[in-house]
């Protein structure tokens, strides 16, 4: 239990409260979309967390293949579990936002399609780890999947743009109405992004600690059995 394990939850909590305050009280409603648009301040940071999670999976996977250290493998699993969580949140908040504004729960536009595919890759990774079997090689296979996934994702993004879509280009457009012209909006996004990031880091850290404790427990149990076997 290190300092960061005490600090992170407090940091995440504080930032989250601040973000909620900003989102519900301070920030003005967006001109075209109204109150519902506020979900954007949660939806977008979750999407960033989902992508960042996958990059972390890939990084930890490379480290595992290079060094063989179980800690790297534990980090990869933790990042995948947290990543799929935030990816799921994106897929839930998206339709909640979309329905009042576009009139449909779902469209096959590039950004949404991309998120579903990312979710599917995550799900495959976790499925492989759960049902791949008892072999030690499962960690290695999952690492390969993590690395290949992150390499293919950019191509998937490009290919998905070959389809047609209506996702609002909120951050890249130059028109004032759907962009973030208002500094309060930018501040809200920044704070909620920080809150989501802190939350994600804390979840990953907790998950890694849980896995490490589990491994220690197994090892102690084995040593105990060996000792009992020797004295029997």
């Amino acid at each position: 239990m290190r300092v960061v394990d005490v600090l992170l939850p407090w940091l995440a909590g504080t930032l989250m409260l601040a973000a909620l305050g900003l989102i519900f009280v301070v920030v003005p409603s967006e001109a075209q979309m109204g109150v519902v648009q506020r979900i954007f301040y949660v939806h977008v940071p979750c999407a960033w967390a989902a992508y960042a999670g996958f990059v972390l999976v890939a990084g930890a996977s490379v480290a595992y293949l290079a060094t063989g250290r179980p800690a790297a493998d534990r980090l990869a699993v933790a990042a995948a579990e947290v990543g799929v969580l935030f990816c799921s949140l994106v897929l839930v908040t998206g339709p909640i936002w979309a329905r009042p504004i576009w009139g449909v729960w779902w469209t096959w536009d590039p950004r949404l399609t991309m998120t579903v595919i990312l979710w599917a890759i995550y799900a495959g990774y976790l499925l492989l780890r759960s049902f791949g079997g008892e072999e030690d090689a499962v960690a290695r296979w999952a690492a390969v999947l993590g690395i290949v996934g992150v390499l293919v994702i950019p191509v998937i993004r490009v290919s998905v743009r070959l389809l047609h879509g209506i996702h609002p280009a909120v951050l890249t457009t130059r028109e004032g109405s759907s962009g973030l012209a208002d500094p309060t909006m930018r501040l809200t996004l920044a704070v909620s992004s920080a809150a989501v990031l802190a939350l994600a880091l804390w979840l990953v850290r907790s998950r890694v600690r849980l896995a490490a404790l589990g491994a220690s427990a197994s090892r102690l149990r084995r040593e105990l059995e060996a000792r009992e076997g020797a004295t029997a």
Partner: protein, 215 residues
């Protein structure tokens, strides 16, 4: 790239978190025929697979002919022959085709004569053109041995090679192993309890609790 055929120090291999090989030391010099004993499930097959580069060590150091296996095993694989519990041959190909295939994997250009000689030694000339699927247990075992010997390796790693062999071929194998080591080759042969092996072995080791004990 030179050194004793096997130089293992603190060799470790886990299986599902459990250590099967737990800090094992072993040096095998040219000319040694090492008999490897151990109870069922002790890890003899695992040890032979690790030495055959089929499994990566979880920890410790392993050098085959002086090459560190962590740095690459291709050079070492040119000089070792491995036999496991299964044939490692393709059931739909004939005996001859299997041997020719493995010869080509070793880069042996005109292997026809060598394959013929091995088929004769293994007593498989008659069955050379039938699919391995139709072979009896003994025939399959002899083919496996031939497969491992096709490139005249300097180091033999044989896991219970006598199983399934009748008296005549067991004697042939024993003679081959003895001759191989007399000529400067090295071999590790595992067995449950093989008196024939004990007669020709220059050294005996037993695998207990993940480590080797002499004798």
């Amino acid at each position: 790239m030179d050194g004793p055929p096997i130089a293992a120090r603190g060799l470790r291999r886990n299986w599902s978190g459990r250590p099967v090989l737990a800090g094992l030391d072993l040096v095998v010099e040219p000319g040694e025929l090492v008999a490897l004993y151990g109870a069922n499930g002790a890890g003899k097959s695992t040890l032979l697979r690790v030495l055959g580069t089929l499994l990566r060590p979880t920890g410790g150091e392993l050098r085959l002919f002086g090459c560190d296996v962590r740095r690459g095993t291709i050079a070492a694989r040119q000089r070792l022959g491995w036999v496991g519990h299964d044939t490692a041959c393709y059931p739909d190909l004939t005996g001859r085709e299997n041997l020719e295939f493995h010869a080509s994997l070793h880069g042996l250009a005109r292997a026809g004569a060598r394959v013929d000689a091995l088929l004769a030694w293994a007593g498989l000339e008659g069955a050379a053109r039938t699919p391995v699927r139709s072979y009896s247990r003994g025939m399959a075992q002899r083919l496996t041995l031939a497969r491992a010997l096709v490139h005249e390796p300097a180091l033999l790693l044989f896991d219970e090679p006598f199983s399934g062999l009748d008296t005549e071929f067991a004697a042939r194998l024993a003679a081959l192993l003895a001759e191989h080591c007399e000529r400067g080759g090295a071999a590790i042969v595992s067995a449950h309890d093989e008196s024939r092996l004990a007669a020709i072995a220059s050294r005996t080791v037993t695998l207990v609790a993940g480590r080797l004990r002499e004798g």
